[in-house]
Subunit: 101 residues, 4 copies
C-alpha cells in the first residue's frame, strides 16, 4: 500500500461507523464480532483476510473460537484508529459477507 | 469420515454430473475449472476446501494460477471416481459459490 | 478421530505439562503463547494447525496479533482439559517448531 | 513491493539456479517440485507462500496433490523469468525448508 496511514478524527470515525454496521469502538479500537456457520467458514474468512493484511502490511488483532472471529483494529504506530484500520475493516466486511449463512 | 469410499458406476457418475453444473469427467477424473474475482478469493476458496479435504482424509489434485483453480478428483486407491469424490465436489461447489463474483 | 475424548486427571495434566515446555494451565485451560519471526510464520502455523483441528473436530481458542499466537485448549463438552487437548497441544508443538526462528 | 520487475538475462538465470538447488528452467519458467511429509505440511507451505505472493502482487502457477507441490514461476507481463520470480523462489525455499521432513 503506497499511501501512509493517517490517524482519524473522532468525527471521521463516527462517519465511518455509520457505514459499517456491526462495528464500534471498544477500548479505542475498531471492534467487530463475527459469527459464521462453522469453523470452515470462520477460518476461510481469516485465511482470506490474512492475504489482504499482509499485502497492506497492516495486521489485525483477532481471536477465533470455532465459528466466532473477534477483531480489533488499531494502528499501534499512530496510537489510534487510522485510515488503514478503516480500509481493512471495509475489506473484512466484504469478505465476511461471502461466508455468512 | 466414518464411511468407506465406494467406486461409482458410470450411471451414478452421470446422475451426479446432472446436478453438478460445470463439472465433467476428464481423463477419468471429476474435473472442474473455477475462476474467481482475484487471488484472495481463489486462495480463500482453497484454504476452506483444504480444511474439508483434510477432515475427509481425501485430497484433491488441483492447480492454481492467480484467480483460477482447476480441480481433478479421483480415488487413487479404488482406481476411479468414488462417493468421496462426489462428496468433495459438492462441498467445493458450496464454498465456490461464496467466492464467485 | 475415532477415539472419544476423556477428561484428564490433575496428575495426568501435570505429567503432560512436564513434556510440554512453554505450556501451563491458565483459567483451567491448556495455555501457550507463541512468538514467531513475523506474520507469515504466525499465520502459516495457524493455517497448518487449522487443518489438524478440523480433522480432529476439536478446535482451539486462539488469538493472533502480528507475530504472536496465544492458544487456550479446553474441551467444552467435558468441562475441562481432555486427551484431545493434549493431542492438539502436541501437534501444535511439532508445527510451531517448524516456524520458530 | 516498490521495485519494478526486470526480466533476467540467461546468464543471470544460470547464476541464480546455481544457488537454488532443486530449481531449473522448464518451458521457460522457473520450476521446482516439492515433496512434504503430508498434506498438512504441503498446504501449510502453500498458505505461507500465498501471503508473500499476494504481498508482492506476484503469484505462482502451482499445483498440489496430497504431499506434493509443483511450482512454475514466470512474469507473464514481461514474457519471461524476472527478478520477482527469483525473489519468490528464494522465499519459497526458505519456507519449504521449514516444512521438509
Amino acid at each position: 500500500m503506497a499511501d501512509q496511514a493517517r490517524r482519524l478524527t473522532v468525527t471521521e470515525i463516527q462517519d465511518a461507523l455509520a457505514e459499517l454496521p456491526g462495528w464500534n469502538v471498544v477500548a479505542e479500537k475498531l471492534h467487530r464480532e463475527y459469527k459464521f456457520p462453522g469453523f470452515v467458514e470462520a477460518f476461510g474468512f481469516m485465511a482470506s483476510v490474512a492475504l489482504i493484511a499482509e499485502s497492506m502490511n497492516h495486521h489485525p488483532d483477532w481471536s477465533n473460537g470455532y465459528n466466532k472471529v473477534v477483531v480489533d483494529l488499531i494502528t499501534h504506530s499512530l496510537g489510534g484508529i487510522s485510515t488503514f484500520d478503516l480500509a481493512l475493516a471495509r475489506k473484512m466486511e466484504a469478505l465476511a459477507a461471502r461466508f455468512a449463512r
